[in-house]
Symmetry: C2
Subunit: 237 residues, 2 copies
């Protein structure tokens, strides 16, 4: 850990003076007071990005779904449960952020109704049927905000796919209207300490080869820093 | 922690020579490779019971759903994801256990089909409808096994209810066919380090007042030990 601290000290301060907002982890969408829908996202990639952005000199806010990971040093953390709570936290923070990195695996759908009491077997032997409502799209919402469209907020999306990653990542980038979309290569990234990334932008795509999530996060953060408008423009915004 | 170790040493060895099987945590029932149904169970109560049973001299196997808790010292742990996996692990272990304590919050229902690929928004704007299938009832299955009916396996159930705990716990005890049913008092037990228990048996019920989960686990373990047939009978079985 001491070595890690020293390595962290020597990271280039490519994000000095910037405010970075990161989302991480799954969301949990309740069906009743105890049950709900979630996913296998561990939050590790997003926490690594928050840490790397902080090391690079940024002021970092991390909006985290239910995960049991320690907060990276110097990072402000906001814990949320549902996609709607995550959107509310992000909309407030995005008003002053320069970079938004959406790594959280937000549920596309939530149960249409959440029961106030625990749903019981009714003795009919018939299992319940669960109807869903579409959750807000946080990345798309922020990407079409005035701040993003003016160039003051640079938005980065993430894609986790079980197949056809490049095609899905390119389609997602276009659909969300973001300049940079990062794909997790391989369905096995969830919960692992290493990963492999695919960066998709207007000009094409490139791979960041397999490495620890922290190492990939540092590469990604420096890549994003190079894409930002000059700091003087940012300060004026 | 040193103090805890010393306290642990001095716990009465009320379960010496007994084999105890404990389930803990939630289950995760997949809808597709990344999403699924789960619940807020933290696993803390079950892990505390496994630890307390070990301290009391038992040989302990802990079958755990997806939680990130450390394994209590000297306890054999089997990690599972779904209710069906938990049943399979318990059926194998129960063949030689003397006590089965079912604290896990096993999903009553699982998605009827799990998609091999991540479910995508289909562009229709219509959210999917999720159909469920009933999960196996692990406690009921073990409680009606020959080993339980002969008295060689003592089965203990847990109930987590958001309302009417005593009535639900009494009904659940009868329905499951177990001699002892333990209710978590209050919907706020999930994830907390303290709890309050309601013990329901053939003769009535009594409360264990609010305390740390480890303290309650030690009281419960000693209570269970007093209910077991004499050790000589156990050894002959």
């Amino acid at each position: 850990e001491l070595l890690e601290d020293i390595v962290a000290q020597f990271q280039p301060k490519s994000l000095a003076g910037r405010r970075v907002l990161v989302t991480a982890g799954p969301t949990f969408e309740g069906m009743d007071p105890v049950r709900g829908i979630t996913n296998h996202s561990s939050g590790k990639m997003g926490f690594a990005i928050a840490r790397a952005a902080r090391e690079a000199g940024a002021e970092v806010t991390l909006v985290a779904g239910p995960v049991s990971l320690p907060t990276p040093r110097g990072v402000a953390r906001i814990d949320v449960t549902t996609g709607r709570q995550m959107l509310a936290a992000c909309e407030a923070e995005a008003l002053r952020a320069h970079v938004f990195i959406a790594t959280a695996a937000v549920a596309d759908w939530r149960p249409a109704e959440s029961a106030a009491q625990k749903i019981k077997k009714d003795g009919s032997g018939e299992p319940p049927v669960l109807r869903f409502a579409e959750n807000p799209d946080i990345l798309h919402t922020l990407a079409r905000s005035e701040r993003a469209r003016s160039g003051a907020l640079f938005c980065v999306g993430f894609a986790a796919e079980s197949h056809d990653l490049l095609a899905h990542a390119q389609a997602k980038r276009a659909r969300k209207g973001v300049p940079l979309l990062v794909g997790n290569i391989g369905p096995a990234a969830f919960g692992r300490d290493d990963n492999q990334l695919l960066l998709v932008d207007e000009g094409g795509h490139r791979e960041l080869p397999r490495a620890s999530k922290l190492s990939l996060a540092r590469q990604l953060v420096n890549d994003i820093a190079r894409r930002l408008p000059a700091a003087s423009l940012v300060c004026a915004s």
